[in-house]
Structures are given as C-alpha cells and as structure tokens.
C-alpha cells in the first residue's frame, strides 16, 4: 500500500482492543531461559490415542470431502444422546444441533444470528477474552456483570437484575468459568433462569468446561431448567474435556429456528466443520469417557497442590470447583495484576495471565492454569513464593 494513508479498516473493528492475552504472549515469547508457563488455556495432555487413531482411519478411508453443513449425522446423533444423558435436555439431531469449528465459531454465529444493532448482551466478568469482542463484532452492546470473590465468582440473581434493561436481549453464561473456575449451584441458576424468563432473555450457555468439575459436584445446565430449553442455546465442544483444542470441533444445540439461522451463517461462512475432526469426535463420545475421567482426576490433584501452595504463601485463593484454572488474589502484594505478572515473569520466569485481561473485575487476580505437569507446578509455586516474598520486603 505504501503511500496510501487511507484507513480501510472498519471503524468498529479498528476500535476493538487487542486481547490482553496477546500482549502478554509477546512478552513471554521474547523471554529467554527456562520459562514455566501457567498461562495456557488448554489441556497438557495429547488427545487420547483412540480418538487420534479414528481421525487417522478417517483419512485412510479417504473421507476428505465436505460434510453436511450441520455436521455428520452420526456425530449429531451422538451429541444429542450425550447431552440427553449428561445434561438432561433433549434435542432433535436433525434440526436442533449444529457442529461448528470449536465453541468459538458457535458463539460467533449465535451472536450474529440473534443480535440486531443496539441489542444488549449481558455477560459475566471476569470472562473468556473473546466475549465482549464477539458481541461488538455482531453489532451488539456488551454489558458486563461483575462476579465477586465473596460469591466464589458465581453469578447471583441479585447482581444480575441490576444490569437488565429494556434493551437486554441475550445473557451469556460460562460455568464452569474461564478464568475463575467458578460453578453455579442450582439455587442461583434457578434464580437466573427466572430472570431470563421474566425479562424474555435468550441465554447462550458456554459449557465447554462442564465435564471438568471436582469434589463430586454435579454440573447443572440452565438449558435443563423448566421453561429454559426454548430460550437457550447450549454450546459445547471437545477441546477441554477430551484434550482436543487443535482439532477445532464444537457444537450448538437449541430451538430449531435459532439453529436454522445459525446454520445460514455457518453455511455461507464456513461450509462445514473439519471432516477428520468430526469423525474423531464421534469416537470421543462413543469411547472417550474413561480417558476423560482420568484426565479430570489428574486436574483435580494438581488443583489441590496449586491452591494449597497459594494459600500457604499468603495469596488468598478460593478452591475452584471447575475448569482448570486457579485465580488467586494478589492484592496483598500491593501490585496490579499486570505488574505482578510482568514482575513474576522477569524475576522468576513464571508466566501467569493478569486478571485484568479478563475484564476490569479481574483486576487484583491472576489466572494460573493447572493443566501443567505436577513437577512444573511444584517448581512454579516455589518461584512464585520467592517473588511474593520479594514483594513484601519492598
């Protein structure tokens, strides 16, 4: 383009801030030496071999063409069966289920299918970094509701009600939550559902971490509560529980007319999700449970180690009941979350993600992923302790 100084970028995209994680990523990547990273948002396990092997077999059979826009029928049948038995909601595989390129795409097309310019979308904060951007890109108005440490970062109806306006159209939930590890108990969830019905909100529920709950907690989906199925889009995928992040395969289930609208966007924009990944995903649902439970137990043990270490070194950390993140409170160090993360990286070569990257209410916290090998967790905790002690001496 050279001399052409004209800005061709759409104004709403130009105004969109870059992800706070991206900024930090550059910083970490430029570090030399032995960096231990607790900054990832994915399992440290390789996809279980039976699933990988199914993907290979699919390629060997020459299954290299497009699939149906909605996804391979056999996969959709398995998905609705899985949701019925684990989340107690029934969907028709023919027209109430769409296979997407990860939950990220499912969220994108759900937003674009639902929002007209100016519609408000309420979402909880701290949250996954894409949420406000996804809403903005679909011409909606993001409205964040803070969640608090005192509530173990669950959303309460008392807080939510303050943010509902006549323009509110969608409520976006993510429990178990990235980055807080929060889960919802049935009582709060029922209160939220009552508000959604009363104010005629569509609920998009991103339940990507729902298999990963600990201490025998039962995961409840808001879609299963009375009166909610017809106003809920249930998003899920294979990335976290089956350690399949790179396969990029997820799905959405919901009322037929909404899925149909999402399908239009998916059809024109994507065509169909990756064929190999879809066939591997069938194997995950049919025979992946044992491997998944084993990974879950392993996360639970590592969570115990990490959370105990944080509390012992004087960083207050609630025990997260789901996902694979600890979210310790670092305010006792007197540093902001960015200063803490930067200082820790520079002094002790441990990467964590500043809570502020997940929204303003994440300030005062950092996100530490415990989907990291146990030895690295022990070493990281040792180094973080040294860093915290050095902060106190100042």
């Amino acid at each position: 383009m050279g001399e052409n100084k004209k800005n061709y970028v759409a104004s709403h995209i130009a105004a969109l801030p870059k992800s706070g994680i991206r900024e930090f990523f550059e910083l970490v990547n430029n570090m030399s030496g032995n960096v231990i990273s607790l900054g990832v948002g994915e399992p440290d396990f390789v996809t279980p071999w039976n699933i990988v092997e199914s993907g290979l077999f699919s390629l060997e059979k020459g299954h290299t063409a497009y699939t149906s826009n909605l996804g391979i029928p056999a996969l959709r049948k398995e998905i609705v069966k899985y949701i019925k038995s684990n989340y107690h909601v029934s969907y028709a595989w023919e027209n109430e289920c769409i296979v997407t390129v990860g939950v990220s795409e499912a969220l994108d097309i759900a937003m674009r299918a639902l929002l007209s310019p100016g519609d408000e979308v309420i979402y909880t904060e701290p949250c996954f970094v894409s949420y406000p951007a996804e809403i903005t890109m679909a011409h909606g108005i993001p409205v964040s509701v803070p969640t608090y440490e005192k509530d173990a970062f669950a959303l309460t109806p008392e807080t939510l009600v303050k943010y509902i306006t006549p323009k509110s159209k969608v409520l976006l939930l993510n429990f178990p939550c990235n980055p807080t590890g929060a889960v919802m108990d049935l009582e709060n969830l029922q209160g939220i559902a009552d508000l959604a019905i009363k104010h005629d909100l569509v609920v998009i529920t991103d339940e990507i971490y729902s298999e990963l709950t600990y201490d025998n907690i039962e995961h409840h989906s808001i879609a299963a509560l009375p009166g909610m199925r017809e106003r809920t889009i249930f998003l899920h995928g294979f990335s976290k529980a089956f350690a399949m992040t790179g396969w990029r395969v997820g799905y959405a289930c919901g009322p037929a007319e909404i899925i149909d609208a999402m399908m239009k966007i998916h059809q024109y924009g994507i065509m169909s999700a990756n064929t190999t990944s879809q066939e591997a995903a069938i194997e995950a649902l049919r025979h992946g449970k044992k491997a998944m439970m084993k990974m879950r137990d392993s996360y639970c043990e590592r969570r115990n180690v990490m959370v105990k270490a944080f509390n012992e070194m004087g960083l207050k950390c609630h025990l997260p009941k789901g996902a694979f993140y600890a979210f310790p409170n670092i305010t006792s160090t007197g540093l902001s979350s960015k200063e803490f993360a930067k200082g820790l990286l520079e002094q002790q070569q441990v990467a964590v993600v500043p809570g502020a990257a997940f929204g303003a209410s994440g300030e005062g916290f950092v996100r530490c992923c415990y989907a990291t090998s146990i030895n690295e967790i022990y070493e990281a905790m040792k180094r973080i302790k040294l860093f915290v002690e050095s902060c106190k001496q100042k």
């Binding site: 994915e42 105990k308 993600v353």
Partner: protein, 161 residues
C-alpha cells in the same frame, strides 16, 4: 483413598508422601499410613524402575518371553510347578495364562547364552514341564504403561486464552 494412593504409586513409585498428601488433599501422616498399610498387607510388593536398555552404554540385559506347557499336578494344580519356576532369579515375571500354553515367563540374563542355558538346563528339565517356546526380545516399545524412545516433545503455546 487407598486406591487413589495406589494409582499415584502405579504412575510414579518414587512419589513422596508429601506429594501424595498435596494431590489428594489429605495429611502427610494419613498418606504415610496408607502407604505403610499397602506395604504391610503385601498389596504393594515392591518398587521397581523402567529402564530403556537400548539407551544404556555397555552391557545390556537380554530378555526373552517364554511360553511353557506344563502338566498340572494332582495335589497342586499349576501352582506347585509355577512356584518352582518362579524362585529362579532369572525369572522376572511369571503368570498362568489361558490359551495354547500354560505359563508365560519373562526371563532376563546378561547374555543370550545365559538365557538359553537357563531354558535348556533348568527350565525344561523341571518335572512337569512339557515344552518351552522362547522368543528373544529385540526391541522394547512400551513397558509398564510408558512408551520407550518415541515420545516426542511437543511445544504448546506459552500463553493462550
């Protein structure tokens, strides 16, 4: 809880009681007691190590899998002859199996001749042993749940959402 401790030991028998306690959210004393009970009750019979023999410089151990057909005895079934075989130091593993033969052994020696000598002079001359079929191990790919040699390191992104 005993099973959970056992699973951690199966994964890494060098794990400390402190780490067991941290991971399972129990006290160190409790972890220590469970491990001692496992040992006392002979549920845990020993701790061993997985060695990639191929990576050793110098002399390597030679291993063979041996299928053995035996005549079960009237007053002891397979146990009597199995115990007799098991007591040889050369025998690393021994199990009664279903199928075309009765006992499956892993035998280890310093040289091929040593293992062959054990089979011809000791094993096949034991009363009740009808026949043996020896397969020398050429290359090991997996042992005790751990793949050997071909696990590549794969670097993940250091920071991601």
């Amino acid at each position: 809880m005993q099973n959970k401790v056992l699973n951690l030991l199966r994964e890494n028998s060098r794990i400390s009681c402190q780490e067991i306690a941290d991971r399972l959210n129990i006290s160190v004393a409790e972890a220590d007691e469970i491990v001692q009970t496992l040992e006392k009750n002979k549920i845990v019979c020993g701790y061993t190590v997985i060695v990639n023999e191929a990576a050793l410089s110098g002399a390597k151990k030679v291993q063979a899998l041996i299928e053995v057909k035996v005549t079960p005895q009237r007053d002891g079934g397979f146990d009597k002859v199995a115990k007799r075989i098991a007591l040889f130091d050369e025998v690393k593993e021994l199990a009664l199996v279903s199928g075309g033969y009765d006992l499956l052994l892993t035998v280890e020696g310093d040289t091929l001749q040593e293992v062959a000598g054990f089979v011809s002079e000791k094993l096949s001359t034991i009363e009740g042993v009808l026949s043996t079929a020896t397969s020398f191990q050429l290359k090991k790919y997996k042992e005790a749940g751990k793949t050997i040699e071909f696990t590549d390191e794969y670097e993940r992104l250091k920071v991601c959402p």
